[in-house]
Symmetry: C2
Subunit: 247 residues, 2 copies
């Protein structure tokens, strides 16, 4: 190998274990062990060119994340499926998970509220204007995936809440009631610790990592209609995207 600087460090086992865990985590999410069974410790040690102790440490990490289960007789199995949500297209959850299972929404709040200035500004309504606020807990089958808080502009909001929110994506309803297509959305994405209310609602431990997606969606004529704050379970959702160097 070519001379390098600085001098390579010796990598402690914890570092190697973290790397093995990273790669295995990806494999699990990619469905590589779809039948549920991982290779034995010995096989993994050979695959990764590391010691069995290192493999054991990596598997302990994944077990603590709830990603795998281990038993003395049963071996190592995938415990938890992560769901992929595409970041490339502007899709509702129900559209995204078509094929995975039934998306249903527990509607927790529907009410008119005075738009706080920041919300009013982004939705381009007067500060204090009445907007529609909706809070939904979204399930895939029996699994709570995300807690969504949505502000809709008055006209669109009042028409949307005439419809079944339990079984429809808000995106689809906006297109139905306006007769227009949605155009573009601006989104920002953060990793945050679950506050205790969100944790209890999403059935995760306090301070568990969540993906917080803020999304402002416009009609195809550029009118902003929908401002959302979406908290997704970090242990259940992977966002996927493709990027180009030259755009």
């Amino acid at each position: 190998m070519a001379a390098v600087e600085p001098t390579p460090l010796r990598r402690p086992r914890a570092d190697q274990a973290r790397l093995v865990a990273d790669v295995l985590r990806h494999q699990i999410h990619a469905g590589a062990y779809a039948d549920g069974g991982l290779p034995s410790e010995q096989e993994l040690a050979a695959e990764f060119f590391v010691s069995r102790n290192t493999v054991r440490e990596a598997l302990t990490t994944l077990k603590e994340e709830g990603l795998i289960e281990r038993g003395p007789r049963t071996g190592t199995h995938v415990a938890l499926r992560k769901y992929e949500h595409g970041l490339d297209a502007l899709l509702g959850l129900k559209e995204t998970f078509k094929g995975y299972g039934e998306v249903r929404n527990e509607v927790r709040v529907i009410q008119e509220v005075n738009a706080p200035p920041a919300v009013a500004h982004r939705l381009r309504v007067d500060p204090g204007a009445r907007v529609i606020f909706i809070e939904r807990l979204r399930y895939l089958g029996d699994l709570p995936l995300s807690l969504d808080k949505t502000y809709l502009t008055p006209d669109v909001g009042e028409a949307v809440i005439e419809h079944q929110l339990e079984t429809n994506d808000v995106f689809a309803l906006i297109e139905r009631v306006t007769g227009r297509r949605l155009g573009s959305a601006n989104l920002s994405l953060e990793a945050v610790a679950a506050d205790s209310h969100s944790a209890a609602t999403l059935q995760v431990p306090d301070s568990a990592p969540l993906l917080l997606l803020e999304r402002l969606t416009h009609l195809d004529d550029g009118t902003p209609v929908d401002l959302e704050y979406i908290r997704m379970r970090g242990d259940r959702i992977t966002l996927r995207s493709n990027l180009l160097r030259d755009i």
Copy 2:
């Protein structure tokens, strides 16, 4: 307002406080209080149409997140700046933060390793082939932002590590040593809790929320060359993107 179902719930103060905190958090990240000062509790209560107790609760949340500082005489100030990283274009950190400050890299590891099968598969090299592994802690000024682990294909990797990794993006170096442009990347994004090594390295508490970005980058002829696992501080990085409904 039109009749709605189910019956709106009365929203407890904690819920309202969370909403106020969400909106203020966005404002802070958007630079709305760029001079550093937030409005008084009384002004915020009027802006959001909530009680001062609710405002206080929201501000407590933001203080616990390290986002603001509060003093009896000095009022409420922004304590912590979040940096935006675009998800739309394929850019290195240094290219992204041009204008924010100096990006420098603490190179922690450079070594040849045997590619684990999953890495080999994604980089399209033989399992066990020698690939170049680089671990860097990336700073903006004095602030550690992300811990990046990079696997490079052998030819590209050996040429890249001949260059200064402290001050250059790997993306820029790949383009320099190959004489080609990068093409596209596949990425996946998760919220994870910081393991203790990552936490200590990134100077955050154990289990603090991190954004984990896995990115496989190709040359413009489609050859995969660079597989990365990037852990970004959740309290410091916001990812931004724009989406279209019809693509």
